[in-house]
Subunit: 291 residues, 2 copies
Amino acid sequence: MNILDGRKISNQIKEEIAVEVAQMKERGEKVPHLAAVLVGNDGASLTYVGSKVRSCKKIGFESTLIHLPEETTEVDLLRQVEDLNANPDIDGYIVQLPLPKHIDEEKVLMAVHPDKDVDGFHPTNFGKMALGMETFIPATPFGIMELLRRYDIETEGKHTVVIGRSNIVGRPISVLMSQKGKAANATVTVTHSRTKDLTEFTQKADIIVSALGSPDFLKADMVKEGVVIIDVGITRVPDETREKGYYLTGDVDFDQVAPKASYITPVPGGVGPMTIAMLLKNTLLARERHS
Amino acid sequence: MNILDGRKISNQIKEEIAVEVAQMKERGEKVPHLAAVLVGNDGASLTYVGSKVRSCKKIGFESTLIHLPEETTEVDLLRQVEDLNANPDIDGYIVQLPLPKHIDEEKVLMAVHPDKDVDGFHPTNFGKMALGMETFIPATPFGIMELLRRYDIETEGKHTVVIGRSNIVGRPISVLMSQKGKAANATVTVTHSRTKDLTEFTQKADIIVSALGSPDFLKADMVKEGVVIIDVGITRVPDETREKGYYLTGDVDFDQVAPKASYITPVPGGVGPMTIAMLLKNTLLARERHS
């Protein structure tokens, strides 16, 4: 069993980006500038956004956090988005989800200019990805692809079972892994809440990408010997004995499944850190494309 | 064994559209107007475009055929596309593929305004489809979905194996059938040229959508009893005994497979006629959205 060490690889990627940024500075060029818009005070969102901003600083990016109150109107948020679209100093930005219920998320994501949409959530970028064109790939699936590539995992012709069909993970990773290219060319099955006999699929899978959000769901008897496991699920399980009052766990019962797996991502320290690294990578790409 | 009669259903759909168009006329409204751009004199393309234009006339649409010479430059074609984008009389248009080799297809498809892209090939529309938003769905997968709906084929939780991952058929149908909704919610496996043991997948499939373009490829021993077969392949096989010098056949060895199938589309007369009907449907939707 080998660990797919997302923390290690994400640090490598960040170091690579930091080197490029240092070279940009030396050449007197503008460095990448990422902005993040956060509406309200959701605990997890605050953590994610904070982490993104800190990562920017570490690798030499400029960053701007626009923290708006919970009661911000849709009109005001859309105006903010327009400002970011028009601001030549901002290379890319994200609008942290979820947004408060009184704001139409789809409307906001549609308003982000595709050239600055480093989350890759805008339909134009999503469509380009699905059609195999150059674009911003959403950070989580991009991170999974990069992890597979850096560990040189054979995917061609391998049966990959994706659990979950969300727009953020399940859908894009299923498209990417079944396309032509490196870490791709897999035979991909998309499973979801309506799938009958999920175990029949997972038991035959060479690679499983689980993006379900159901703690310790995948057990040893559901997978075959030698399987590659990518665990995207990340759930906070309440635990009073911990300082934070919770611990993080994935979709996979790690202790059970790891001994059968050839490669497996831990939670935390697997896909999570890769997501931030690829957001930074997209911001670097945005800077390069704008210049 | 039941035939999924694409000819019959497509005629029903065209009649329904014709009724709507007649009502539009009665109300003194503008009727839908479809334009088709054809570059060069490819035999199959001439046939397809001709058939689309004739269908428009039959159901009361206005139609315009813009037939440009083979040697048309990319710049001139792009200018033509811009004219169509700007022309308020045109509700939707298609650029018939393939284009001559000296023209960059991607560049041309990107230039079509998404609101007039009734083929649904523009990344913005493709992305909206993949994200489950309202858009123009490419005509062939749209036709398959409509055929499944009108015959009330159960797809929820059914294992659907899609053969082929093209941007025009395999990719969009695999996305659509695995989404939420009617004729959807299936567990979908995308197979392609790099898939190992395709037969292992097809033998277990409840539904097979074949978009390979390899005549009589799918044999009886590759499918299970009761399978639903959607044959998207359409190949001209040379045959001197026929008046046209060829006959049309699908990916499926119909005589062998049909007795095992619960439902099957014939070729010709299955998915083909549905494609034209859904292009007309998209043009009607374009008119309604623009008004």
